[in-house]
Each structure stands twice: as structure tokens, then as C-alpha cells.
Amino acid sequence: MTPLLAVEDLVKHFPAGGGLFGRHARQVHAVCGVSFEVGRGETLGIVGESGCGKSTTARLVLGLMPATSGTARFDDVDVLTAKPKALRALRRRLQMVAQDPYASLDPQMTVGASIAEPLRIHGLYRKGGKDRVRELMTLVELDPDHVTRYPHQFSGGQRQRVGIARALALQPELLVLDEPISSLDVSIQAGVINLLADLQERLGVAYVFIAHDLSVIRLISHKVVVMYLGKVVESGLRDDVFDRPSHPYTQALLSAMPSANPVAERARARILLPGDVPSPLDPPSGCRFRTRCWKAQDVCAVEEPALVDRGQGHPVACHFAEAAPQVSGLADPARQDAPDLPNAAGLPFAP
């Protein structure tokens, strides 16, 4: 079966000022050769820290900015080269939910009008639009009698539900969600995650779900892509990536996630990465992660590791990829086939 969305070798460089008329402009290497596929009705989780290019990837896939190179085929139409008219038609099937529901809703419009807007734009409001808006509000578990209220009268979680209702108005096949819950309070997040899972089951909509929180990604994704400084460092089925994280960065990310278990938190060994993410203006040669990696050797500075399966059962972009199921310190202790973490290699472990 052909995937719903097939992204191949996506590249985006931004000019970063410097020089008159940009003649000596430097380039921000935001997204560098990213590839992934999303099937119908499934969720692809993209995880990474700020500056890893996950939001830029989302915007490119939505056709919201031109790419430097690469393709993003949505049902065999390349979003990146589609003519405006074709792109408009695609947008009915491809919608997004933004991070901050307060900033993405017009404060002067009632939520009903906000949800109805996509219907109006696509000429679908006249016939039964009013009922459709009420239906959508019910779908996202809001009171349909609140259509005449304004965004400020809703809480953060409710506003995000309005954002989701608006995105679903045109019955899209794919929803791109960029950090949809990170601005919400903990007790509210769970409700929105549950809603998204439920909607997928009922409507068969596929998600590209972007987050920095690995536990949320694990809960909601079928497939996972881990990004670092514009590149995919590891990808695969959810359980493959979480049970056998094989790229040092994925291992460090998993290890850095605090868990709400005081005993385990105090006991476990943490992988502490030194320093910061390097500037995307001047990414390191070879492997981009090598400047913070405890496994780095000379070859890492010279040769860029390809994203291929190196015997871990899923693609990993590391010359020294090695599955480490006990990284989080919380994994199933029954698994004895786990290789030990390489603490002999100068890894700064915290007690």
C-alpha cells in the first residue's frame, strides 16, 4: 500500500543575513535530508529538542514554505512543487494544529466562527455548516451551546480542543500537530491525548505528532523519528526505538527524561550530555552529534553515518550503533541480553 505521506530527502536552508543583499549570506541548515513515511490512520511521532528542525519539517510538509530540495508526496502529489490551486485542494486533506491555542485563534471571532472558517473558505458552510460546527464541538467534547463564546472564555485545554475541531472541519486525512499539548497543564494534557487517540480510532485520520516529550510520543505513536540538528538520527516502529534505542542521542534523551518515581529517579544512572547543541549555521563535519557524543572516534568527524539498519532492526545513523534496552534505567529488568552502557568510555555519568 502506498503511504499517505512520503517525505524524501527534505532539505531546508534559511539565509541568515550577512553581507549586502545577502551576497555573503550564511545558511542556517535547518532540515538536512529528512525522509519518512506516514501510512493512513497511523501516527508518526517526531521527537527532538529545540532547533532540531522538527517544526520546520512540519511547515514544509504542509506546504507553508518552499523547500530547498526534496519531495513530500501526499497521496502522490508533491506538496512542495504543487501549483497554488492544487495546493489549496490538498489543504482540505492536510491540516494542522498549532502549539499555542491562544495565539492561533482569532480573539475577536467566536469559536463557532473559527471552526466554521475552513468550511466557508472551501464553500462548504452554506449547506449544513451550522450543524457541522455543533457536531465538531461535540466531537471534541465541548458544549455545542458555547459556539457563540470567545476564546478568552475558554481554558487552555478547551482552546486546544477548538483548534482540533477547526482542523478536523474539512475531514482531513492527515493532521500535523506541532507540540499540541506542551502549553497545557499536566492534568489537561492527558485529556487532549486521549481525545486525539479516540479521534484517530473513529475518523481514521493520520497524525504527524511533533513533541519534545518522549513519554507522550511513546503513548501516541506507531512510528517514531528522532531528530538532531536537522537530521534523522534514528527511526522505526515505536517499540523498536523505545525498547532498543541504538543511537547515543536517543539513549541520552531517554535517560534524561525525569520520571515521577522518586526511588527510581535517585537510583538510576543518567547519561549527561556535555555542552549544547551546536549552531545550525555551522554544523559539525561528519556526524553532527559527535561534539557531544561519548562514542565519538576520528571517523565520526570525517564520515557522515548513513541512516541504515546496522543490525538493530531499524535504521540508526551512527557508526557505533548499539542497542541499549536498559538506557532509561526503568526498562524491563528481565531482559538479560542487554549490553551494558559504555561507561568506560569517558561517559559523564551522574550517580
Binding site: 479516540d198 503513548l219 534523551l253 515521577a260
Partner: protein, 328 residues
């Protein structure tokens, strides 16, 4: 053991156009020397306002009553002059967004020097500058002598937070109040900063109040934890007790609604229905009752107070009936 910070019956009310808003409604907290107290709660629960009131940093209109004692000395109603002597010396604070907390037009080192010399005018400029470099080294800034001359925009978010911590510990405080110190940072940088706070606590013996919405952040660092909801502490106790034997329905709901890395099920998460109440129109009785799965008619009338229940303190009429909860 004598507590370094003792907050008792603290109330803070802000006048607004729509009427007075009670942001903190009778909070009791105790911070023991060299301990870490985690304060957990969602936005608007009053955790930051409590700490700002402690330091006398609230805007002029705010009405503060109750008592805040630092080593037995009352801080509420203390003259601004006296408070200034304490702030940044005995009690220091770091904030969520380090970039906006630093002065953008002064070199980092200079800002640390200023902090030292305000409280110790006898320390010479040169000596203070030397001390600033030592502090930057202490918090793990590479090439501290060179980086001391950098401006905040030349520092990453994580490094700015390190600089803030250097500034906070410059005068060897007894108490460090850290308000969401890692919320604006990435996960791997968050791990670095939490590790640094752990080291600072060991090395300097400073007691820390760690404010966070993240139960995971608090779990790894705190000795004791207080859970706040709508301006009140609804549960407190040792971290181990609260995380494994929570007796307040809100704490239990919070703990259950956090997705865990070890969760492999694809089932729904538990969530708390509804949203935090408006502080302008607080529900009668227990402020949590409209969202509480265990609420009974008297919860709408009787306001539960914090009381000891099997290893923790919880503000719920039915805490005993809820029984202990096994942590996942």
C-alpha cells in the same frame, strides 16, 4: 532541626477590576536546612506567588498576611531596606526564563560582581571579579575567565541558567528558591541543570525550594513535596510518601495523568476532568470538588484543612477512605 524558612498561614490577595483575587489562601510550608522542598502545582495554583511573597517581591497593591520566618526572623512587614539585605544574600532566587532575568547590556561577569558587591561593599572590584570567574567555573561554564566577559545573548539558554545559579549562590545563601528552573530548557539541558543543582546543594549545603509543574523533576531532587491547588497546599509529605501513598484525589489524579516512559500500553491515560477554577469565583467548600471523582455533598460546603493521614498530610474529607495507592 531548625527550619530555615517557615511559612505559616500565608495569604495573598490582589485587587483587580473584577474584585479581589485570593491567589494564596493560607499556605503553611517548612523548609529544613540543607533540604530540598518541591512545590508542585499547575498554573494559577499559587506556587510562584507564595515564593514572591516570601521575598517581598510582589507588586505594591498585593495584600499579604500571615507569617514568613527566615531563621526565626519575621519577613512579612519587614522594611524594604532590611528585605533587600536578605535578598540575594541569605535567600536567593532563580527564575524560569534565564534569558529575561539577566541584563542584556551588561557582561555576565559584571552582573555577578554587582551581586557580590551590593552585599559586600568591602570586597574590591578585582577580588569580586576573580570570585565571579570561580563561580562560573563552579557551575560548569567552560573557559570561565573568557566567558565572564560575554553578554547574555552569547550564552545558550542552559548556560544562562548556569550563570543565574552562579549569581544566586555568589553570597552563599542558606535558601535558594528555584522557580521552574528547567521549564524553558530542553530535556538534555534540563538534566544538566538538575545535576548542577544537586551538586550545588551538596557542596554549598544550601536548602532549595524547587517549584515545578513537572512531577518528574521534583521526584529526582526533592526530599519533601507540597502539592498546591487553587492557592492552597492540598497535600504534603516526604517525596516517597506522596508519590506512592498520595491521599488527596488531586495528587492522585496528577500522578495518574503523567504519561510514563515505561508505559507501553496504547490505552487511554487517566485524566482529571474540567479545568482549574477561576480564583475570582472559587467553588464553595473544597475548591477541588467540581473535578473530584470522590466528591460528596458535604464537599461543596465544608472546606477541608490539611491534616495528617497515614504518612502524609492531605486536605480531603475522605482521605482515609481513599486508601494508599500503589505507584505504577
Amino acid at each position: 532541626m531548625t527550619p530555615v524558612l517557615e511559612i505559616a498561614g500565608l495569604e495573598v490577595t490582589f485587587p483587580t477590576q473584577e474584585g479581589p483575587v485570593a491567589a494564596v489562601r493560607g499556605v503553611d510550608l517548612t523548609l529544613e536546612a540543607r533540604k530540598v522542598l518541591g512545590v508542585v502545582g499547575e498554573s494559577g495554583s499559587g506556587k510562584t506567588v507564595t515564593m514572591l511573597a516570601t521575598l517581598g517581591l510582589l507588586p505594591a497593591g498585593a495584600e499579604v498576611s500571615g507569617s514568613v520566618k527566615y531563621r526565626g526572623r519575621e519577613l512579612v512587614g519587614l522594611a524594604p531596606r532590611e528585605l533587600r539585605k536578605l535578598r540575594g544574600a541569605a535567600v536567593a532566587m532563580i527564575f524560569q526564563d534565564p534569558k529575561t532575568s539577566l541584563n542584556p547590556v551588561q557582561p555576565i561577569g559584571h552582573q555577578i560582581v554587582e551581586g557580590i558587591r551590593i552585599h559586600h561593599p568591602d570586597v574590591g572590584r578585582k577580588e569580586a571579579a576573580k570570585r565571579a570567574v570561580e563561580l562560573l567555573a563552579l557551575v560548569g561554564i567552560p573557559q570561565p575567565d573568557r566567558r565572564a566577559r560575554d553578554y547574555p545573548h552569547q550564552f545558550s539558554g542552559g548556560m544562562c541558567q548556569r550563570a543565574m545559579i552562579a549569581m544566586a549562590v555568589a553570597n552563599d545563601p542558606d535558601v535558594l528558591i528555584a522557580d521552574e528552573p528547567t521549564t524553558a530548557l530542553d530535556v538534555t539541558i534540563q538534566a544538566q541543570i538538575l545535576d548542577l543543582l544537586r551538586d550545588i546543594r551538596e557542596e554549598k549545603g544550601v536548602a532549595i525550594v524547587l517549584i515545578s509543574h513537572d512531577l518528574g523533576v521534583v521526584a529526582g531532587l526533592a526530599d519533601d513535596v507540597a502539592v498546591m491547588y487553587a492557592g492552597r497546599v492540598v497535600e504534603k509529605g516526604s517525596v516517597d510518601a506522596v508519590y506512592t501513598q498520595a491521599r488527596h484525589p488531586y495528587t492522585r489524579g496528577l500522578l495518574a495523568s503523567v504519561p510514563r516512559l515505561t508505559d507501553t500500553r496504547h490505552g487511554p491515560l487517566q485524566s482529571i476532568g474540567g479545568g482549574a477554577p477561576s480564583l475570582l469565583h472559587l467553588p464553595g467548600g473544597c475548591a477541588f470538588h467540581p473535578r473530584c471523582p470522590h466528591a460528596r455533598p458535604n464537599c461543596q460546603v465544608d472546606d477541608p484543612r490539611l491534616r495528617p493521614v497515614a504518612g502524609v498530610e492531605a486536605a480531603c474529607h475522605y482521605a482515609e477512605e481513599l486508601g494508599p495507592v500503589a505507584s505504577k
